[in-house]
């Protein structure tokens, strides 16, 4: 791990779902530091998938199936999404290291970029 260089940016991925009724819901998929201790341990593979693969432009083939999976899951729960966005967030680590930079303490701003957006096909006239 962390070879030959550790990652120089703290990162996470989130998903925004916009329903047909206009409501929006955002899930921070891999904002691990905000999760309870047990959940973040349990969701390690989730972090691996999203942060190490899904987030990357080089692995764009994963984006559509990932969103389609969410779509199916949400539709099964009675939602009717019209748009789904995947966003990556990042902020650089800093040197020299100090206690104020500890991940659970530091409150610096996050950069963000929507890297995939799915929209529902238009419904034709009834």
């Amino acid at each position: 791990m962390f070879s030959p260089e550790p990652r120089s940016e703290d990162i996470w991925v989130d998903i925004l779902v916009i329903d047909r009724n206009g409501s929006q819901q955002r899930w921070p998929l891999t904002h691990m530091i905000e999760m309870p201790y047990f959940t973040r341990w349990q969701k390690e593979r989730w972090r691996k998938y999203c942060n190490d693969h899904l987030r990357l432009d080089a692995e764009r083939t994963l984006w559509k199936p990932f969103v389609e999976y969410w779509l199916r899951t949400l539709q099964a729960k009675g939602h009717d999404p019209v748009a789904i966005e995947l966003t990556r967030l990042w902020r650089p680590t800093q040197l020299p290291v100090s206690a104020a930079l500890r991940a659970d303490v530091y409150r610096g701003p996050w950069n963000h970029f929507v890297f995939y957006r799915w929209t529902a096909p238009e419904r034709g006239p009834r």
């Binding site: 691990m32 341990w41 994963l62 040197l95």
Partner: protein
């Protein structure tokens, strides 16, 4: 000239002896027991999410997987194709394998079952794997060839409870699977250390300080004094020293226990600070394979059966 050749031959002879001389079965058996437990935990952590990771309606449908995978490997999918029934096979085969390893019940078949289960999910979605999965795959593979059911088995435990008498002494077992697993651990540390040593952050001593700023890995809170440049430097270079030193120092009998203790402290620290699921537990499970002298000191295993002719009663690590 002949003397020179003989002198050169000595280390090879010693290595040959080390691999061939049968050993006390208890370190490998205890490794199998603890390793089996960790394999089970790993499987249970995955259990509910398997349809999402591996299913045809999951995050990686067959048409996408076909674009990413680099050829067929030996696993369940080779026989079933992209079929969601394979998830059931992985679950139950893995469960049977894990329980078998834990109880020492047909340990070779059990190792084979667990290896198949792990190889199958590894092939179907390699984006979810962590280094712990590799340690499981390697461990199971060599347990398929090892006599790991000579001690710490449920059958033996029940027999002891029922009979209330001392059982037959342990038979010595072929050493080579245990030796390969020991070498595997050394290679893993050495490669990790060498790779790190080429990095600028590891050379400058800032790597640990950088890693501790990554919220995606942080587990439990760390004290403020750890987040200082000097401690970061100490821990960065300490990590390099440990990973590069372990593969060599572990073979010096008088240093073996101190090196293992340092390793336990090192991985316990990582377990506290870093969120990498079962990796620390799995890699330290391999330490059990070096505990031969500890077992021998507690009770001397006596060589019986065919192994006795070459082994003698002494056990080596």
């Amino acid at each position: 000239m002949i003397r020179c050749v003989r002198w050169l031959w000595l280390p090879l002879d010693a290595f040959d002896d080390w691999v061939r001389t049968p050993v006390d079965p208890r370190p490998l058996a205890f490794f199998r027991f603890w390793f089996g437990f960790l394999c089970l935990v790993n499987l249970l952590l995955l259990w509910n999410d398997l349809p999402m990771w591996l299913g045809n309606d999951g995050v990686l449908p067959p048409q996408t997987h076909l674009l990413l995978q680099d050829g067929t490997r030996f696993n369940f999918y080779m026989f079933t194709g992209y079929n969601d029934f394979t998830i059931t096979l992985i679950r139950w085969c893995g469960l049977a394998g894990g329980l078998g390893l834990l109880a020492g019940f047909f340990p070779r078949v059990s190792a084979c079952a667990m290896w198949l289960a792990v190889s199958s999910f590894s092939w179907r979605n390699m984006n979810i794997l962590h280094s712990g999965d590799n340690l499981i795959r390697i461990g199971c593979f060599f347990l398929m060839f090892a006599h790991s059911g000579e001690a710490f088995t449920l059958r033996r435990w029940i027999a002891t409870r029922r009979a209330g008498v001392r059982l037959k002494p342990f038979r010595h077992i072929p050493a080579w699977p245990q030796r390969i697993l020991q070498l595997q651990l050394c290679v893993a540390y050495f490669v990790a250390g060498m790779w790190k040593a080429t990095g600028v952050a590891w050379q400058s001593g800032t790597a640990v300080g950088t890693v501790l700023q990554l919220g995606e890995f942080q587990r439990f809170p760390i004290p403020d004094w750890v987040m200082t440049p000097i401690v970061s430097q100490l821990m960065t270079h300490g990590t390099l020293l440990f990973e590069l030193g372990f593969p060599f120092l572990i073979w010096i009998p008088s240093l073996r226990m101190p090196v293992l203790l340092v390793g336990i402290v090192f991985h316990a620290g990582l377990e506290w600070t870093m969120n990498v699921q079962l990796f620390q537990w799995l890699i330290t499970a391999y330490y059990i394979l070096f505990l031969g002298p500890l077992f021998s000191r507690s009770t001397q295993a006596t060589a019986i059966g065919p192994a006795a002719t070459t082994a003698g009663p002494a056990c080596s690590a």
